[in-house]
């Protein structure tokens, strides 16, 4: 039911494809300038490095969400998945160092399994993804409260937490490099490789026009299900970093799903699928975090974050749709 868009001639200066990363780089640069005016040493290596480390989880979630959104679906379960992972990790590890690695393996499997269920219910049972993943949200939050009787139990080991809060010290030039940043770079590399693979290309085709993709031999349901699995895995890695950085709580992942979706939209990825890049999505997340840092420095209440997200989503979607019809 989507109507093909008559593409306008590109603007003269920014010869950006729709879904290109140029607009988001411009916004990011502008925000960074504003930020340095207010906080001159923000771009100095120590604060920049720790900012990037702190932003790693949301960037990972945006990368995962990219795969789902570009295939034409939504994953609203990632926030609750992060919460569930953190609480499960604390209870299973129970401050016992030897359990760290097995539990990390288990978390990744758990994330993949949740993604698999989301994907199969959406594709095989024909349930709209926002209902599937909101249902999963209820199930995960309810289950995790039920399992822990209303208060998180156990504890994380130092070995587990170091990914989220430790860093390589005394690196030449930059000082300290958070582990989280290295995890982020590794996953980002993987994500870019994934978008260049057959899977990534198929996914764009599926999001652009499922019917055409199906007729050209792409198994739409398999591609979409894989996208949900990737999102679940990204949430697992993000949960490991968040658990390390801010510890165990039922609020660990609250609202992250909307953060990730906002970031993806901001990065020029078309909701409804078919257009955009994973690099744009991750830059979108970085831009969103920069905006939140800016709001923080200017003394804006943190509670207004969701208003900012809502405004960004509406603007980012409404403005381009003057050019293309997506309804």
């Amino acid at each position: 039911m989507r109507i093909a868009e008559g593409r306008r001639p590109p603007a003269r200066i920014l010869r950006s494809r729709p879904g290109g990363v140029v607009p988001i780089l411009v916004i990011l640069a502008a925000l960074l300038v504003l930020l340095t005016i207010r906080q001159p040493d923000f771009l100095a290596p120590p604060s920049l490095m720790s900012f990037l480390g702190r932003s790693a989880p949301i960037i990972l979630l945006a990368a995962g969400q990219y795969f789902v959104i570009v295939s034409g679906e939504f994953d609203l379960s990632v926030g609750s998945l992060v919460t569930a992972q953190v609480v499960v990790a604390a209870r299973l590890i129970d401050s016992e160092p030897s359990r760290t690695w097995p539990v990390i393996g288990l978390l990744l499997a758990f994330g993949a399994a949740v993604g698999l269920v989301n994907g199969l219910v959406t594709t095989r049972l024909g349930v709209p993804s926002f209902i599937t993943t909101l249902g999963m949200f209820l199930i995960l939050v309810g289950a995790v409260y039920l399992w822990s009787d209303g208060a998180p139990k156990g504890g994380l080991t130092e070995e587990f937490r170091r990914f989220g809060r430790r860093a390589f010290e005394d690196v030449p030039l930059v000082g300290r490099v958070p582990y989280a940043l290295l995890v982020l770079l590794a996953v980002a590399g993987l994500a870019v490789l994934l978008t260049r693979s057959d899977f990534g290309r198929n996914l764009l085709a599926v999001g652009g026009n499922p019917r055409t993709a199906e007729l050209s031999g792409v198994r739409v349901w398999r591609a979409k299900t894989m996208a949900f699995v990737v999102s679940g895995l990204a949430a697992a890695v993000a949960a490991i970093l968040i658990g390390g950085y801010s510890g165990v709580s039922f609020q660990a992942g609250a609202g992250l799903e909307f953060g990730a979706i906002t970031a993806v939209v901001l990065g020029g990825v078309a909701l409804g699928g078919g257009r955009g890049s994973v690099a744009g999505a991750m830059l979108g997340a970085l831009t969103l975090e920069t905006l939140f840092a800016l709001m923080n420095f200017y003394g804006v209440s943190g509670a207004l974050k969701s208003t900012a997200q809502g405004a960004i989503i509406l603007l980012a979607v409404a403005v381009p749709s003057v050019r293309s019809s997506s309804r």
């Binding site: 034409g72 594709t123 024909g126 209902i131 809502g310 019809s325």
Partner: protein, 324 residues
């Protein structure tokens, strides 16, 4: 997935009423074995109270979904409405009418915004209403930590707690609103246009329907229903509650009730009667769980499973194509 298996031409699927009867029968049996009573007066009254709140939202949701749209901002509209109502009243009966009018005006304005975004800015309904919901969430989160304002005692006594036999006044209000919505859909030009727009927007447009105007009206009506639900909740709680809409899951549950009632998520098919059946079904499940003293968290898990499963059952039969 895109193969259509259209329902017979009948207006509503009676399936939901069969499911309701079966659920009540099974629930009655289990509760009785457990040593409780499902059909005692207090249980029925509380069931109807739950149904009244959810039902008001779901009737509005039915209108937008029939039009091929969706409103996920209702939960925040409800929370906001309880606050506008209770704070304007500030405990005085004299401010009752101004407060109710103001609440409905605010709700209608939000619905109007939703409608404009969906039609004029051509934003996908899911995204548009989630975006508006986030705007409202930010306002609620930054402005309120807990209950605020005080509902007029007259409203608490009447809409909140008064009843005729076992039937609360609020449930009668729901029946009135549902009746009006049924009349609008079945007997008025706007109703027929709405169904046409939801069925096939292009055909409707070519037949001379002003799609945008129809959809904006549907969104305003939906938000008004959510506003009414907010007024009702304010009269139950005695004050404004900034999280009542989201914690009550009114967004997801209203969509679930509509789908359970046989209205197609893709639009163009369905009706209010089925929605009321869906609402009663969800409220009955809730009442049965309460009678069985099921753990609140376990209840939430089951709610999630039921909603997804219910939509899956109907999706297999009616899904033409996912809404996006």
């Amino acid at each position: 997935m895109s193969t259509a298996l259209p329902l017979p031409a009948g207006r509503t699927a009676p399936g939901v009423f069969v499911a309701l009867a079966l659920t009540l029968a099974a629930g009655w049996l289990i509760v009785t074995i457990d040593g409780g009573r499902l059909f005692s007066q207090p249980t029925i009254v509380s069931l109807l109270h739950v149904a009244a709140g959810l039902g008001l939202v779901a009737v509005g949701q039915t209108l937008v979904i029939i039009g091929g749209s969706l409103d996920l901002s209702v939960a925040y509209v409800i929370s906001l409405s309880t606050l506008v109502t209770a704070q304007t009243m500030a405990g005085s009966d004299g401010a009752l009418l101004p407060a109710v009018s103001l609440t409905l005006a605010v709700s209608a304005a939000i619905g109007f915004l939703n409608g404009l975004l969906v039609t004029k800015a051509r934003v996908n309904a899911f995204i548009a209403t989630v975006g508006v919901g986030l705007l409202l969430k930010g306002f609620l989160d930054s402005g309120y930590d807990g209950p605020a304002g005080e509902t007029a005692p007259a409203l608490v006594r009447s809409l909140g707690y008064q009843r005729v036999g076992p039937v609360p006044v609020s449930f009668l209000l729901l029946l009135a609103v549902a009746g009006a919505a049924w009349f609008v859909l079945a007997r008025t030009r706007f109703g027929h246009h709405l169904i046409a727009v939801g069925g096939d927007p292009e055909v409707a447009r070519l037949s001379g329907v002003r799609n945008d105007r129809v959809l904006v009206t549907a969104h305003v009506l939906c938000a008004l229903c959510a506003g009414l639900a907010g007024i009702y909740l304010a009269s139950r709680l005695g004050s404004g509650a900034p999280r009542v809409g989201t914690e009550g899951l009114y967004d997801l549950e209203s969509v679930a009730a509509v789908v359970l009632g046989g209205t197609a998520l893709a639009g163009g098919r369905g009706g209010v009667a089925g929605t009321i059946g869906g609402v009663l079904l969800l409220a009955s499940i809730d009442a049965i769980f309460n009678q069985l003293d099921v753990d609140a968290f376990f209840k939430q898990v089951i709610r999630g499973v039921i909603i997804v499963a219910a939509v899956a059952v109907y999706a297999r039969r009616t899904l033409r194509k996912a809404a996006f």
